[in-house]
Symmetry: C2
Subunit: 144 residues, 2 copies
Amino acid sequence: MRGALRTGEVAAAAGVNVQTLRYYERRGLLPRPARTPGGHRGYPSQAVVRIRVIKAVQRLGFTLDEITDLLEAGAHGRPGLRDRAVAKVAEIDARIAALTTVRRSLVDLVEAGCDSITACSCRPVCPIPLDGRLDGPATRDADD
Amino acid sequence: MRGALRTGEVAAAAGVNVQTLRYYERRGLLPRPARTPGGHRGYPSQAVVRIRVIKAVQRLGFTLDEITDLLEAGAHGRPGLRDRAVAKVAEIDARIAALTTVRRSLVDLVEAGCDSITACSCRPVCPIPLDGRLDGPATRDADD
DNA sequence: TTGCATCCGGTACCCGGGTACAGGCTTACC
DNA sequence: GGTAAGCCTGTACCCGGGTACCGGATGCAA
């Protein structure tokens, strides 16, 4: 165990919580490290790099499950990152498109001057269904 | 209770699950309806509209907590939708910007031809930290 | 050797928005 | 009046990515 890093050292160096280390180990993202006779973990310095890589890939929008696959693929010389990245770009494009649509609706609503969802005034562009507004006494019984 | 709609009817008409109705009621999004002597709920037809409104507003990116506020504000004649919508647009812009940044990194990675996170080849644009790659025997002990 | 920081495993909880299930009761229709 | 569909409450679980807390053990320095 000479030169091995302890849990807290690795966590501090990688910028994560100590619990996160054990969580990653449980999920198979981090190899089980050697132990001292007393049961304390002793990490090689590469563990820090590995966590940083995980965090970086995570920032690219990959889930921990996907990262597990990617790491395993890499360990066995199988590639596959490129294909996954291409798929992820498509995924992101879809999310951006969805957000853009929502944004458009919100802007329409603001521009129409609508200021209440129960008494909406933003015809004809209101993104909220207009048939039968929420007025009248029908819902008042829970107003207490 | 004449003309009152039952749980299942409201759920079907509004396109949600029966459990969702009760969930909304618990959260205060849906007024507590009248009951039959046997304890069954009887909804006014406006309940269907209300759920549709909730779902529509939710699609605009508002959380149920925010929708609760919005509904309450509307019920008391207080406006506030416009301000919230403006803030939400800013929120969406931030998310689109973040996604765009991530997208750029992914495209860089693909264009650089990098195909593995453990043996990355995409200098100089690699979005994954490069100092000390994940090679060598240090992490092999968990390869079983 | 004593003191204290750190570490251990296990379990429970957080966020948001529901969904599922169990066991029992009511209502509607024939 | 029988039967089946639908309803009731309460509780637990799902997703993803951690975080928090507990009581007890270990490691290291003075």
